[in-house]
Subunit: 128 residues, 2 copies
């Protein structure tokens, strides 16, 4: 946790950094936040661990759905305040709606239209 | 400014939304923020207009460097609180360091290593 690469990040006042997750094929699949511990764990374990702001706890992506994100690369931006993950999306689904990407609505004629299909029923993804 | 598609965005308390800009080729080139006015202007003008939090004013991307971002698509995520832009990057440079992307450092053996070259001297980009 004392690694200097973590010290180079400019964390928000809440100790967080915004994170973009993108597949190696170039698809941006989600956006979330990390704190220092989750970024360290992401690097150490090789799988994305976020910080859930709503639940105020570590969120091991895929912990319920099984759709983990295997880390290929971790990059930082010029201001050291945004992280970009290159990932391999297990199951091909990042969104809780069962789609590949959370960005599944695109503006057309001033309306948000769905641009991609549900690949798996969320009820199937989250059943215990 | 009263368009309902804007009302569907869940703005932060400061009235902002995080924005990811990605080229059509799949390169994530930058991350910034928009307020309602800048997102409306982005859609209306067809070029990315951000909200500069440091300068507290509209920031027409490329206003100094000439490196505008032509809008191809505007998408929103499942929570309606993040925007993804598909853009055509004029000049091929989004970063103020003269690189294609702001995400030009990648973690390797716990060090941030530069992954891409400067395409144009920033002194040339921002000279008056």
């Amino acid at each position: 946790m004392s690694a200097s690469w973590l010290d180079e990040i400019r964390w928000t006042e809440e100790g967080l950094v915004p994170v973009i997750a993108q597949t190696s094929a170039g698809k941006v699949v989600m956006f979330a936040w990390m704190n220092r511990e989750s970024l360290a764990l992401t690097n150490k374990t090789g799988f994305a661990v976020y910080w859930s702001r709503s639940r105020q706890r570590l969120w091991r992506k895929g912990e319920e759905s099984g759709n983990q994100q295997k880390i290929i690369h971790i990059s930082v931006d010029c201001d050291e305040d945004v992280i970009l993950l290159e990932i391999e999306q297990q199951g091909g689904i990042a969104c809780h709606t069962g789609r590949e990407s959370c960005f599944y609505r695109t503006l057309k004629n001033n309306e948000w239209l769905t641009n991609s299909a549900v690949l798996k029923d969320p009820a199937e993804m989250y059943k215990k």
